[in-house]
Subunit: 356 residues, 2 copies
């Protein structure tokens, strides 16, 4: 344990822009709160974290992140309970994961106390940006980019860690139709699929656009080797309900170890729902659908929370999911949100309160 | 053919910084010429290209390139011949390739006349930065980045195309020792390996660092599916000389279609050296090495031109390449440079002269 407290430099805004934001009509990731954090890695060392008014910064066109994609990020949320207290949901997981991502991208590890003290200072300052009420939250985006200037393909010797935050409502309003990938792939064994690396996302837009042009909202990625196993969606892990059991793929070096996924697995167990964590064969899902045993598919992710899938297509076969009276997706969302908004006992110790 | 000429906005430097550069001691990609080009894609349209003094620009921390890696680039060179004329080497290839990369990354295509007129204007202005003499060149880095502000994982609606240039000497001074990849991979079928996407590079640094810690300079990537076939290096395609024949892997959606590679294939043919373009089995190379038939390995790329490999390791087996009296790597380099510096007839029409 550190005994000496870290100093964070804070430069406050002069006037909040919160009045200009329509909190009932938020496009996801388009409004930013008053402050942001940045912390530079220079000469082999993370410098003092700086909290400053949110705003643009200068970058040289030769900045390495523009050329070599050395960039990782996280997505996490803060919720306000009915007593007006702000809580982060499982931030330890995001902290560990950003460093895991960084390691794979040859980016230096970020210190734990820098991460938590920055978050706490930022959230205290921007407390008003976390709105109470179902579906409301403050989306928090920590990220790291390579900042050395130079166009030689080698790891950067300078980095910037940043945290920006956006007020958000529920991410997906409507249920989604998905396409199981047959040709394109998101990641491979020995690759960077398990990291929240910037390049993993840009690489998905083109195949996703093709899916969209066919009337599907998202792609469910299959393994690059055989395309026979369902892995995850672009920003969500995927669950299948077969009969009364939930099925989801194990994590691997190809799949992001989602915080919502692991929370759903735990909550299902806590509530007596069986979860099978095993490779998910496309054929098994199609056969279950044909036999009327596939009851639900849903995605899990911080931004979306739980996103219902209404139908899917694979190799020309189209399937529509039944309408269930009791939906596990709804149950899981309720279990999750009850904890996130501090409405039930937090047995698993997932909430990290922010002192005012 | 366009009949009306495109207007490019030009803002010249006040005073050149060329005097400050030591042209005999250039670190690759660390010095930039006086001018750069940028061109914004806004409202569904590429705006007028702007040529301005090289320098930093403002970006919001939510700029999409920082989060989702929608970024592609090119690398090409201009050479000055003994008569003081500047020539681009096969720029059509780079133009086609950047648009191929952009398509895969869901970035809008850049117009051909914008590309060539910008390059020509830029090179006329920065003519003095192209130094004559063996090994000297101006390295040209076109790139495109996603510039919309927003942290939702979806294609950007705004982009910036830029061109920056760096005076350069030969890229690698010393021959390299390489490691054949057994666990990590660079790209997969259905992925973005054939694109010069920023994320492909950042993803290689960590496994390359591991190789370096074992005493190797670079990794030769093998196919992600089986790791039995040699594909390419981080920024070079790879050739193997077995007996008197050259062998190189075919391009695919996993491998970058290198301009130097295709030039070497052509030059080998033009000079009576047989080239086999076929999947390169690791075992075949190891067996050839054991039988004394593997004479050379070399990499080909714009930055490095030709890089000699002196030895390799795979699965604990180490191999040292023999010292040849007549090296194909040296021959190929000479053939290439004779054209690039306009010392021989340019039969294949590869030079694109820049009018003063
Ligand atoms: C590729 C990918 N899979 C899954 C997830 C879900 O992870 P989490 O629940 O931690 O948000 C995300 C989003 O963060 C993601 O980007
Ligand atoms: C992955 C990769 N392979 C090969 C090459 C060589 O291509 P070229 O000869 O066009 O420079 C490069 C460099 O540009 C590269 O980045």
């Amino acid at each position: 344990m550190e005994t000496q407290s870290l100093t964070i430099h804070v430069k406050k805004i002069e006037k909040s822009k919160i009045e200009q934001v329509d909190f009932n009509n938020l496009a996801f990731g388009k409004n930013y709160s008053d402050h942001m954090m940045y912390c530079d890695y220079i000469d082999g060392k993370w410098q003092t974290p700086q909290i400053v008014p949110y705003g643009p910064m200068e970058f040289s066109p030769s900045t390495k992140v523009f050329h070599y994609g050395q960039a990782v990020f996280e997505g996490m949320k803060a919720f306000k309970d009915d007593a007006g207290r702000v809580h982060l949901f499982r931030p330890e997981e995001n902290f560990k994961r950003i460093n895991k991502s960084s390691e794979r991208l040859a980016i230096p590890e970020f210190p734990k106390d820098y991460f938590f003290e920055s978050l706490e200072t930022l959230l205290k300052l921007d407390h008003e940006w976390v709105k109470p009420g179902q579906g409301n939250s403050l989306y928090i985006r920590p990220f790291v980019i390579a900042t050395e200037e130079g166009v030689a393909a080698a790891p950067s010797d300078a980095y910037r860690f940043m945290i920006i935050t956006c007020p958000s409502q529920a991410y997906y309003n409507k249920p989604v139709k998905v396409l199981f990938a047959e040709k394109y792939s998101r990641s491979a064994d020995g690759g960077v699929g398990y990291a929240k690396a910037a390049g993993n996302y840009g690489a998905q837009f083109y195949p996703t656009n093709i899916a969209k042009s066919k009337g599907y909202d998202q792609v469910i990625w299959t393994d690059a080797k055989t395309h026979q196993y369902l892995e995850e969606a672009g920003t969500m892990n995927i669950f299948f309900r077969i009969g009364d059991k939930l099925l989801t793929a194990p994590t691997s070096d190809r799949i992001l170890d989602g915080v919502t996924r692991k929370s759903v697995i735990q909550l299902a167990k806590d509530n007596g729902i069986e979860v099978e964590v095993a490779p998910v064969e496309v054929e098994r899902i199609k056969n279950a659908a044909k036999a009327g045993e596939l009851k639900e598919i849903f995605g899990t992710g911080t931004a979306a929370t739980i996103a219902k899938v209404t139908g899917f297509e694979h190799a020309g076969d189209e399937f529509t999911l039944p309408k269930m009276e009791v939906e596990y997706s709804e149950l899981m969302k309720k279990y999750l949100q009850d904890i996130q908004y501090n409405r039930v006992e937090d047995k698993n110790n997932w909430l990290h309160p922010i002192e005012k």
